[in-house]
């Protein structure tokens, strides 16, 4: 499971992936979302005195917690899809959203 986390720059380590772009005060992109942190990127961010960054990483999850989360998501989707019928297209959308929400849990 991917988890998004806001980290103080001092806790960031090489290999983590940025969940959101790092911007300077004027809104310019310093490092784009999705970039993997390298030693030189970390040094550059330290030089610019960036305080914290948003990173994503994979974590092993307790299967019971995962099942509970999936059930909660399914209940929310069942409510939204309560009158959408069971056409193949509609079910494909349901499944795509469920998978997306499971994959991008924050």
């Amino acid at each position: 499971m991917k988890v998004v986390e806001i980290l103080p720059l001092s806790d960031a380590v090489v290999g983590l992936r940025l969940a959101a772009a790092v911007l300077d005060e004027a809104g310019h992109v310093l490092v784009p979302a999705g970039a993997e942190l390298s030693e030189s990127i970390l040094q550059g961010l330290q030089r610019r005195e960036i305080a914290e960054i948003s990173v994503e990483h994979d974590v092993e999850e307790d299967p019971a917690a995962q099942a509970a989360y999936r059930a909660k998501l399914a209940a929310q989707l069942d409510h939204i899809f309560r009158k959408a019928g069971d056409g193949d297209e509609t079910r494909a959308l349901y499944q795509a959203v469920l998978d997306y929400r499971m994959e991008h849990r924050s």
């Binding site: 989707l77 309560r82 959408a84 959308l93 959203v97």
Partner: protein
């Protein structure tokens, strides 16, 4: 008696205050071959409120610019005329209505839904061979008939919203049962009154029944974008519900679950910032 008829709605639409001149010019530009872009940019720039909101959208991460644009002319140079035209139409038309006089109409939820549909439409457009900027505008404007009804027929629309809540039905069903017309039909009448280009007209009028629209229209795309936005629950309305997806639209777009999986993240990535840029 809450029933409306076509003539009554058209008469009210003709009494609407005129659109900002820049918006009218831009609408007309769809059917013109020789467009004086610098003159239109000047007209936009004369409307400070419009300019400020357009520049907020242009500078949001939605367009991912490396440096900020400070004028409409710069925006046209950097983003292109079509992108700026889309933004001005989206911002200028949505701002022409005052739905807050309709108790129960959730304007923030309306904006959130329209932005989500705009972003979804923009993401789908390249797969369907449509212009992404026009698709974004169509998404922002697709439910404009709701704004017309909430701001011009407020007492009747209050009854629609109450009926919907009571019956837990689709909004279009509540509108048809209470008013005898729905927001897509009313949006279509507005599109005729304001002379929308055909592509926007079809997106507004046919997004709930796309199979009846030409395959080349934006109706299929907006129908799917609407469903994706609802499925993600982005309006945050407790009564949000999805209508069955139209098979013809799905097939004509060549859609499948794997393609959907690549589109969904693109919607949420720009959602909050675009809502902020388009509000107020």
């Amino acid at each position: 008696m809450n029933q409306l008829n076509r003539d009554q709605v058209v008469a009210r639409l003709k009494q609407l205050p005129s659109l900002p001149s820049a918006v009218t010019e831009l609408l007309a530009s769809f059917s013109k071959e020789d467009i004086d872009i610098s003159q239109i940019a000047h007209q936009i720039a004369c409307d400070q409120g419009l300019t400020a909101r357009v520049l907020r959208v242009a500078n949001s991460s939605f367009y991912g610019l490396q440096s900020r644009v400070g004028t409409i002319n710069e925006a046209v140079v950097v983003l292109g005329f079509r992108a700026v035209r889309s933004m001005v139409l989206a911002v200028g038309m949505s701002g022409a209505f005052r739905p807050e006089q309709c108790p129960g109409f959730d304007a923030p939820a309306y904006l959130r839904h329209c932005v989500a549909v705009g972003l979804a439409a923009r993401a789908i457009a390249p797969l369907a061979g449509h212009n992404a900027e026009l698709a974004f505008t169509a998404g922002i404007l697709h439910d404009i008939g709701e704004l017309v009804l909430a701001s011009n027929f407020s007492p009747q629309y209050v009854a629609v919203l109450a009926y919907r809540k009571q019956h837990d039905c689709f909004l279009v069903e509540a509108e048809r049962d209470v008013l005898g017309m729905d927001h897509a039909e009313v949006g279509g009448l507005l599109a005729e009154t304001w002379r929308f280009p055909d592509s926007l007209h079809e997106a507004v009028a046919d997004h709930h029944a796309p199979a009846g629209a030409p395959a080349s229209s934006l109706a299929d795309l907006i129908h799917l974008a609407d469903a994706m936005a609802h499925a993600l629950g982005l309006s945050r309305q407790p009564e949000e519900m999805l209508m069955p997806l139209d098979r013809t639209a799905w097939n004509r777009l060549g859609m499948d679950q794997a393609k959907l999986a690549t589109l969904l993240p693109q919607i949420e990535r720009s959602m909050e910032e675009t809502c902020q840029a388009l509000s107020g």
